[in-house]
Symmetry: C3
Subunit: 397 residues, 3 copies
């Protein structure tokens, strides 16, 4: 069992000043030390909560959330993270008018930020839009702060964009680290990020992209598997390759699910939409071409239906290392015979892994809290020490 001092020692060995006063867009924009600092601080915050030590560092302040896509678990993770640090969540509900450009973004971003310490945004629906929008918001509040309008620059946490889903992939990764007893045990482990069939086509690419963009940094052999036509962003594949080279691991691709599963230590089978189709949809949407969108959807569903064999069955699981690979999913999963007729995973597989799956999800609030914490304090270690010394109980005692 670790102590808070262990986390403090670890943090002291890392260089993560780049996190201070900055934002979290994409994991591959952050150094290895910064990524490790997020993991370490997330564990430290969890340790403190488990030991009833309050980590309320804000006496007042708002955490603004903006969800441009439905969300339950990320919404609650963000709310939990803000609350853990003392920030009150205020949701920005854009109503029907979701397309906010140029002048409006700049103005709205400032108008909601007078007392905002954090802004969390999910905007994952259209290729080329979500990450761009987050940058527009950050540019606006950075300018607003420089111009003396905002007393503080709120830090942005990317709660899923069109490119990456960093709070998800980092929660996933922290789960892997704990399951394998430390990042030092991951060298040479095989992780299969594979496409899987789901009747609801059109799921964001940001999960597989986030996974290959992050998991390739730890010396693992990461393999990306999907049917032809379900490619992800080539830019992210390039990053994965480069990461793998640097970390001493590998990044490969295949169109065979069983090849990916064979001898895998970790499997992450999950549906996503074809990148090219999503790009087409974005353009049709921009043109307001509803007939085009409908036709595209029909094509996609037909294409999708051809790959019902891409499922995480018991047979497929038996191919993995000792038949016992760690099964991951960002949830909710499409479970065959439970949430749909044929889906991403067999019910018996899902059942067996329910506990680790829920644990995997449980890291997200702490990952988000750690991102905020590192952006807000110049010397986070000093703050941790002072919080420990102060020792205010989270629940009165």
């Amino acid at each position: 069992m670790k102590t808070l001092q262990d986390y403090i020692d670890k943090l002291n060995s890392l260089h993560f000043q780049e996190m201070y006063n900055r934002d979290f867009f994409l994991t591959w924009e952050k150094s290895d030390d910064a990524i490790e600092a997020v993991f370490t601080l997330a564990d430290a915050l969890r340790y403190m909560r488990e030991h009833n030590i309050s980590t309320r560092v804000f006496e007042s302040g708002l955490g603004i959330s903006l969800f441009r896509d439905n969300s339950t678990r990320t919404r609650f993770s963000f709310a939990s993270a803000c609350n853990l640090l003392g920030l009150e969540v205020q949701d920005l509900d854009e109503g029907k008018s979701q397309i906010a450009h140029g002048e409006t973004v700049r103005e709205t971003a400032n108008m909601i930020s007078f007392m905002a310490d954090v802004i969390g945004i999910r905007d994952d629906m259209y290729i080329g839009k979500g990450n761009k929008y987050m940058h527009d918001v950050v540019d606006a509040v950075t300018q607003g702060h420089a111009d003396g309008i905002l007393e503080q620059k709120p830090t942005l946490v990317n709660l899923q964009c069109d490119i990456d889903h960093p709070t998800q992939s980092m929660a996933d990764m922290l789960h892997i680290i704990h399951e394998f007893g430390g990042v030092e045990n991951l060298k040479g482990k095989k992780l299969a990020m594979t496409w899987a069939y789901s009747p609801s086509y059109g799921k964001p690419l940001s999960v597989p992209q986030g996974v290959i963009g992050l998991m390739t940094r730890f010396g693992m052999d990461v393999i990306l598997a999907h049917p032809e036509g379900y490619e992800v962003f080539p830019e992210v594949e390039a990053i994965a390759s480069e990461n793998a080279k640097k970390s001493g691991g590998s990044f490969t691709k295949t169109n065979s699910m069983s090849e990916a599963f064979r001898d895998a230590d970790i499997v992450y089978p999950k549906s996503w939409a074809p990148f090219a189709a999503m790009e087409k949809r974005t353009n049709l949407y921009a043109k307001g071409d509803q007939a085009g969108i409908d036709a595209l959807e029909k094509d996609l569903l037909a294409q999708n239906a051809e790959h019902q064999d891409w499922a995480c069955t018991e047979e497929m699981m038996s191919l993995t290392k000792d038949g016992k690979a760690l099964y991951l999913h960002c949830l909710p999963a499409d479970i065959s015979g439970v949430s749909c007729d044929k889906g991403e995973v067999d019910a018996s597989v899902f059942d067996r892994y329910r506990n680790p799956l829920y644990k995997q999800a449980s890291y997200k609030p702490y990952i988000i809290a750690a991102m905020i914490f590192l952006a807000k304090f110049a010397d986070p270690v000093d703050i941790l020490k002072k919080l420990e010394k102060k020792g205010t109980p989270r629940i009165f005692e």
Copy 2:
């Protein structure tokens, strides 16, 4: 005027360990001491707030609310109670997809609970469903806590189910206790829980059931009155009878409103739907039989219209003890000539009792806060003492 020490002394005389780490589903599942502890602690918390002593026992933590039926007063009561203790309310909005079963309940319950200390649920629309759902949620988070997924087990507060409305009936009861100067003065008092006509049929049965299930525990003569066909759950009637026997009071039934009102010390005239019809509706709903539902509604409205004479008129009130029975309602009431043509109560009666009615409602936030407090602290008396000693003012001074 009591002091905090009086409440502490009272609590010290009671055995209510069963409340710790548990949930609040139905009042009759709790011992007399546990019920009295809730009343006593509710009064103590109110005393402290009135004396500007903060009862903020949580530095951080969420109170999750889930309302599957409209609510203003219970929603605000829950929010007030959570806030009083330091919890931030986070509402779970299920949107249109309200039917969540099996796997989904288990998963959702865990996903929202990573930092949840309390979950408050209203689910009162369908017979056999609401209480069941609450148990499913509690089972899920209990398992999640046992499996190490949740660091704490959130406590459930039933904010109205198909069977009971415990925060309502206990607020009602605490009001009665205060109006009569103590629970010791209630022996032999007559309380009439009676049906009353309202143009909007279909109101939940949980209020009358909650009242007869709780008020029979204090030695009163409780009489349940309704037209034929408006029976409540036989199981709850059985509980009321048993309670009455144990407490030295009585539980009787009648189909005459005036018989119920005659010499009553307390009257609670209120509309509700016939149990059998509600059960039929639940089945039709499950089958998706809209035509059947429409036909049933038509029948019910016709049946309902036959009983417009069941109203709390001045004439009816004059039958009560000295014409001055304490008039109760969970609000909002259907007031004849005000909110509808003909309703549950005469405007002049309602006007005369407005003050006590609002006071009755004012206990609900404290009842909820007390339920949470007793579930969260192994030694609530010790916590009260420490809060008093600490003496942080609620409003800075």
Copy 3:
């Protein structure tokens, strides 16, 4: 640079006891000293936040918000103000049933206020309704407090009614004071509150009314300009005239935009609806005469379109004092060529003033917080001193 002591000294020189335990409906119901106290305290709270001194004066308590019209910036300003003082915002969502009268207002107001310290309401759509409704709410909770139902009387903050928009006009005014280096420098300055064309007719009158009702109190020459037919409430014009007389300034009217702009030090060009038409609309609405409303809207749009030349162009700006008048707007503005074809202001003018415009908006949270603070503490200066002495950091350090 001022110190907190400067603000304290200033407050000590003012008489504002009238604010304690009261509500904020209209600026002209408050004394000059009370108005100045709000400005001074707003600056003091901002100073403290900038110096990381917590102004959390509530350990618990709710701030209820009720928006009967869309709002982003006022909603966030209210949430920020409540949060700054330690209150949690709880929104009252009336759903579709917005017309709440008599009994219902009284009851709802009490039911939501058991633990409410503040109620903020926006209700600006119908002439003769909004301010009236706020008074109904205040009467209800005042009675509720007197009757022992509510332990505290929540204070009302008018977040825009049919008559005034005090948090807007006071934020505007505090901005003017800062831009001109103090209220003592405003004597003889010319402020032009002028109508401007916007394609979306029907904007509330409360902004221009709020401006002429407040800005005439500081010795300025306030001129109100609009096309014929766009008159504001005569009662508010009377107040503006009286204010001007007392303050040694002037209040005049014109139907020429250029006359208003000529040599102006401050310009506030903004669209609003004709008072008479709004009154007519209110009556048609009350009668449920949709055909009448449609016909009226058509007439208004036609009338509106005749005045497209009322725009804050570069040419118009060049008429102002040295061509450099301070340009004000409550935002969002209708910017020609940006948010609409032809609107209230040229894009180049708006761009040049964006910074001051955002600063103008930034005062609103502090104005609201100051209003609450003055209503809640008998001796606000003493509280400020104690907060400074306590010196809890807003962000842990």
